[in-house]
């Protein structure tokens, strides 16, 4: 197969986020650096009858400047997360006001406005037609958050939403990279948004994929994932455009790749071949050999099978280095944001590269001798000389995606 032909180098010029650690990049980085988990008892909905009772819930009692805008009231939670993250990212990039025509939005989501829609369905499916409010369905579809961002910022270029389960956000960022590199757009707002809802909370519990305690990626005794919610956005532009207005890229998005296991609807290919193929495709896109990768932000859900398969994938790509390559497992702190996980972990990767430190996770259990990974524990790991990183997303149905980021300086 042909290698990618490099056209325009693509910068990450701004990032924004909402997560269980709070609204904004500031609380996100502070919490990541401290290794502080946001997974705790939550209040989004009554979970007394659910099998588990923890999630990394975004705080709703924090003041949000956008809440004064009359449009805010019509947005679902997932829409609000998305618009806030996009606003923060665009402000950081120095792009204020309506976006020009040569701009687009590439977004991912698993559930869109399902949280609000469950109110409607709770009435409608019981035959309580009058009390079921159609307005609760207005943002139900998974393309709603991406469309909300486009609408809010006056985007008239391409707008597209991916819903490929846990790889949605990463695939959206990859599609945005293509669009900027090819010159289809000059500015891409790329990200994802998901809010907690009962459908997925009960669904993953039905699969017995959820740990009753906070998830423990790659650790012994791990029993499954933890839930999270939020949004993350990256603004992508040609490097030259950022420099021309006196800005400085936060990082370079060097490559994106994807591949499918074609193995099973929920279980990963235990050989890790599909995940490895995605990483290798991303590195090929970036024109980068595996030896140049300084750390990996793993998918790391904490499920027994997924972590084991991901370890196999790392071994395939990095060979003997796999055991020494520093790994981050952001889901141990933010939970699994489902379709949005790839986007927020991309932002985490950019922040770690930018700050020259890899965030830790709590060493809450023993290492798994079957998975001799170098997971960063308890304290941030300095990254002297590290210039590139990979972020992986491995989804239901075997859809795997990987992104490669490089330091700008």
């Amino acid at each position: 197969m042909m290698d990618e032909t490099v056209s325009r180098r693509v910068a990450v010029s701004g990032v924004g986020a909402v997560s269980g650690l709070g609204w904004g990049i500031g609380p996100l980085w502070e919490g990541l650096r401290a290794g502080r988990t946001a997974i705790r008892p939550f209040e989004r909905f009554d979970h007394a009858s659910h099998r588990t009772h923890l999630a990394a819930e975004a705080p709703l009692d924090e003041p949000v400047s956008l809440a004064g805008d009359p449009r805010w009231e019509r947005l679902s939670l997932a829409d609000r997360f998305a618009v806030f993250a996009a606003a923060e990212a665009l402000a950081m990039a120095g792009l204020a006001g309506p976006l020009e025509e040569l701009s687009g939005v590439w977004f991912g989501s698993s559930t869109g406005g399902m949280f609000e829609s469950e109110r409607f369905f709770n009435e409608f499916l019981r035959g309580r037609w009058r009390s079921a409010k159609l307005r609760d369905l207005a943002s139900q579809q998974v393309n709603a958050p991406g469309d909300a961002v486009a609408r809010w910022f006056g985007v008239s270029g391409p707008v597209s939403t991916v819903s490929s389960a846990c790889s949605s956000g990463a695939l959206a960022v990859g599609a945005a990279l293509d669009a900027v590199r090819s010159g289809e757009v000059d500015v891409a707002v790329a990200g994802a948004s998901d809010s907690l809802c009962q459908l997925t909370y009960a669904g993953f519990n039905a699969l017995r994929s959820v740990d009753e305690g906070p998830c423990r990626p790659f650790r012994a005794g791990r029993e499954g994932m933890s839930f999270g919610e939020g949004s993350a956005v990256l603004v992508l532009e040609p490097v030259e455009r950022v420099l021309a207005r006196g800005g400085e890229p936060l990082a370079v998005l060097s490559g994106a790749g994807s591949a499918c296991d074609a193995h099973h609807m929920t279980a990963p290919d235990p050989s890790g071949a599909g995940a490895a193929a995605a990483v290798e495709a991303a590195l090929r896109y970036a024109g980068m050999p595996p030896e140049e990768v300084g750390f990996v932000n793993t998918h790391g859900t904490g499920t027994p099978l997924n972590d084991a398969a991901e370890w196999k994938a790392l071994q395939r790509v990095f060979g003997e280095r796999a055991g020494e390559l520093p790994l981050a497992a952001t889901k141990a702190l933010l939970g699994h944001l489902l379709g949005s996980s790839g986007a927020i972990e991309a932002v985490a990767t950019v922040l770690c590269l930018r700050h020259g430190e890899l965030h830790p996770v709590p060493s809450s259990s023993e290492a798994d001798p079957e998975l001799p990974v170098s997971l960063v524990l308890d304290r941030p790991l300095p990254l002297p000389g590290v210039r590139a990183a990979v972020s992986t997303s491995l989804a239901f149905g075997g859809s795997n995606a990987a992104l490669v980021f490089s330091r700008w300086d």
Binding site: R51, E118, Q141, S164, A202, G203, A206, C260, G397
Partner: protein
Amino acid sequence: MTEIFITGLGTIGAYGSGAGSLRQALASSELPGLTEMDRSAGYHLAQAPRRAFLVDPALLREWVPPGEARRMSPPSRLAVAAARMALREAGLGEGLPDDHTGVAISTAFGPSSYSEGLLKQILLEGPESASPILFMESVANAPAAQIAIASKARGPSVTICQREAGALLAVGQAAGDVAAGRVPRALAGTLDEMTPLLHSLLDRFGALARNSGPDGTELARPFDRRRAGYLAAEGATMLLLESGERAASPLAKVRAWGSAFDPTAPAVGWGTGSAGLGRALRRTLDRAGISLEEIDLVVSGASGSRGGDRVEALLLREAWGDRPLPPVLAPKSVTGEYGGGFLAAAVLAAAGARFGPTIGFGQPDPELGVVPHDGSPLPPPSAVLVTSVAAGGAASWLVLEAA
């Protein structure tokens, strides 16, 4: 740039199974059979339309044996059936030659029946009643995953959800992957199932045609002054896209693809159709080196929707300006909205298929300034523009060429 060819087409809808069935329906301009929706759950308003374009489940058995079908949701069965059809037509019915096949599909609503079933369990019976089987097949990318498993397609796998604009976005995604050399071939298409719940909700949002035919039955009237909504449909269409050096006996060539957004559109409705859409379409054509004069046929996504058809017309008028439009086909009065019949019709149009008069059209709308094709014979087209605008603001397009 690598040339992209459509070498296989699989389609299933109310018109039947396979391109031949659809070709016949489009040429005759007779409505495929409309099926009564099950109203026993009580979801429908009294005045809601009673029928939709539904798939006869028996058509799937040839492509998805019962032993496989029992592990799939209805949309997954539709998707796998259409994918196998496309591969067989492309001469790959016995299996793909390697691991490098991508899958890019779209769905407007995802696996609706399984989602409904799961919500009933969780909300009405309690969370512990949630079925893992229903959950696993309720995610939007379940059909794409089932296609990949059934075909051993191990390239990129993407599911796009962008309402009515999704199908052409999926084709563009797949074409981009093949053009960039990531994979030598990709399955691209769209699918949706039409459930009583979904049908009733579309009606409650005012989207469906009610009693608009001469005998008081449902009829979609694309571009017509009297249009009052669309006919809902279910089905699946899959295309096999291959790079030029590998394509044999192609149906058509994918020459260009693009999209844009109307930020004046509300979440569940239509905007003013800003001039940005037409400019964006012109940019796509310019980047591909295609002049307006080369476009000798348009396949419009006009469905009979009052707002949607207005934006479809605005898009064409803004792009063409004062120049006369080429002939405009509006096949959704035959295929319905959703389920991919429109995408299949567009490919058939590029391959020179005969189209009859536009069903439902009789009175031009002076505000739109578009009169769809009257069924008179057309010369085989050289370049076909295919357009789709979506509720919520997205719009997408393709340019297909005769192979």
